[in-house]
Symmetry: C2
Subunit: 292 residues, 2 copies
DNA sequence: CATGATGTCTGACTTAAGTCAGATAAATCG
DNA sequence: CGATTTATCTGACTTAAGTCAGACATCATG
């Protein structure tokens, strides 16, 4: 009944190859070779360090240098030595460069917008794209500390609360749970980690400290499109490392066995030991501890 | 809460671009430029006519000619004049060419297999890929007559029956419905149309004739991943055209208002008029007619 | 059968992309 | 400090890809 998975994969490949090709040729419409356009877009997207851009685009250093020179000759880019390390260089867009960059943005936005607008279920299409992108880019997911009040963190936390509200039969009210103060999840007391993939937040975890050697792990969440890729485990390893760096030697956490069964399994598999209840929150019924 | 759709689209773009790039470079590992590899693969995938390959790959005639010559020099391809039109040429793989082609197949199968095997929900990933591929390739979906007993038709009909079984509360048994004989859905009595996208069947419709000027439309089905793209309408237009070509002037069909509400909407919108019951099948409760 | 259209081929180009071997300057480390 | 490593730059290449004009044979049509 179901068709050969590899045939389906191939069809997908062909479809996106020609889409990517179409986008590339629309980029060529601006009269600049693709290589140069890619560098310009990388800079516009916030990559500054020349070496970083090279790694991101996979370019040879000679080629990179020439492309940059061409963009400088066009007056779109300015380069300068890196403030802290004069071997390196950083690139920035000039006003003309920013204008040109936004033309490229307009081109790809128009493509994206047209495709999404013409689809009967844009949200389903986007969800499918997220899933595919996470599967393809799983080893390009990076973990980093972030401000728990920043945009990426707020997105994760919002999705986390929404999911809890769905999973708990009686709903979920942040106010009822002891919502950790943001300051307790920032250095030097604690930390907040966000997993990012190409600018999109895919997961988070918070470490709520009190200045002492004990801290609590809170708000572990992974985006539905990225589940099963081992991201929760990476986040937990990351938060343990952050705790060690802060001089913390004991971690605790709480969870709910019925609403979040996969979480309890993860903690047990990662070597956490169950302990008696240590708070009076209404939601959790399972409590864990781990010594570092 | 939900992130900028365009940012999500871009992330998808970047992920597949680098995946496509990785596949391309793995193809380069066989010591042949990509262009030549693409031509070899096109021939291996059943494209024979040189002009057709050129259109499929979007190549200039000069370039195409040179690439073919290179493959001939390698002993992988043999070309010959087209039997019916000596201006055209057809290309075929030699034994060595077939061996080389299957090496390429192995490479891309391995990539696809590794990705699917490493994913926690391969079926969900494939479904997402199907959805994206259909959305991207909507104007590359082609309609064509097919044998209702062939592989593509059987796949569609199997999915169709399975879906009916899910939608009808009491299930669905093909034997209870008047399953049209395959011969009635083949020329000269009738027709069977299949919508294909890059080798994958995405929808079908049957025209069951009896040798007279009246015929019945049966088995209209569209793959879930391709719904909303106007494919059902195209199939209905195609079946009407096929009917006209067979000298048929009146079409009838039956459907079920509760289990298949979108079908009834489609027929009404396409100008069909409701008529009294004309058979005693247990499943349908709505009957339509249309004069051509 | 003459005419124009079609499909392929050839040769002469251009451009983009990428490679490689140094040169240079700054940072790092013992 | 001197030796080594790192990051970028330059010049001299190669290769792939694509363009263009014209040649040639064949087909379709009046």
């Amino acid at each position: 009944m179901s068709l050969d998975p590899v045939a389906r994969f191939r069809r997908f490949s062909r479809a996106v190859t020609s889409e990517v090709g179409a986008l590339d040729s629309s980029f060529l419409g601006r009269g600049r070779p693709l290589g140069a356009a890619r560098v310009l877009n990388a800079i516009g997207n916030g990559h500054e360090d020349v070496g970083e851009i090279r790694a991101y685009l996979g370019l040879d250093s000679g080629l990179m240098s020439r492309l940059l020179r061409g963009l400088e000759a066009e007056g779109l880019v300015r380069t300068a030595p890196h403030p802290g390390d004069a071997r390196r260089r950083v690139a920035a867009l000039t006003d003309a460069g920013r204008a040109e960059f936004s033309e490229y943005e307009t081109l790809s936005d128009a493509r994206a917008g047209a495709l999404l607008a013409s689809h009967p279920r844009p949200e389903a299409l986007l969800a499918a794209m997220d899933l595919v992108a996470s599967a393809l880019g799983r080893d390009r997911i990076t973990l980093g500390q972030a401000d728990p009040r920043g945009a990426a963190a707020r997105h994760c936390l919002g999705a986390y609360y929404a999911e809890l509200a769905r999973r708990f039969e009686q709903g979920f009210d942040v106010a009822l749970s002891r919502d950790p103060e943001a300051a307790d999840m920032c250095p030097p007391r604690g930390a907040f980690l966000v997993a990012m993939s190409d600018g999109l937040p895919l997961g988070c975890v918070g470490l709520k400290g009190n200045g002492g050697t004990q801290a609590e792990v809170k708000r572990l969440w992974v985006a539905p499109s990225a589940r099963g890729l081992g991201l929760a485990r990476r986040l937990m390893e990351g938060v343990e490392e952050a705790a060690r760096a802060l001089g913390i030697d004991t971690l605790r956490l709480d969870t709910n066995s019925a609403a979040l069964p996969e979480a309890a399994r993860l903690y047990r598999a990662a070597g956490w030991t169950e302990i008696p209840r240590f708070n009076d929150d209404p939601y959790p019924d399972l409590f864990f501890e781990r010594r570092l």
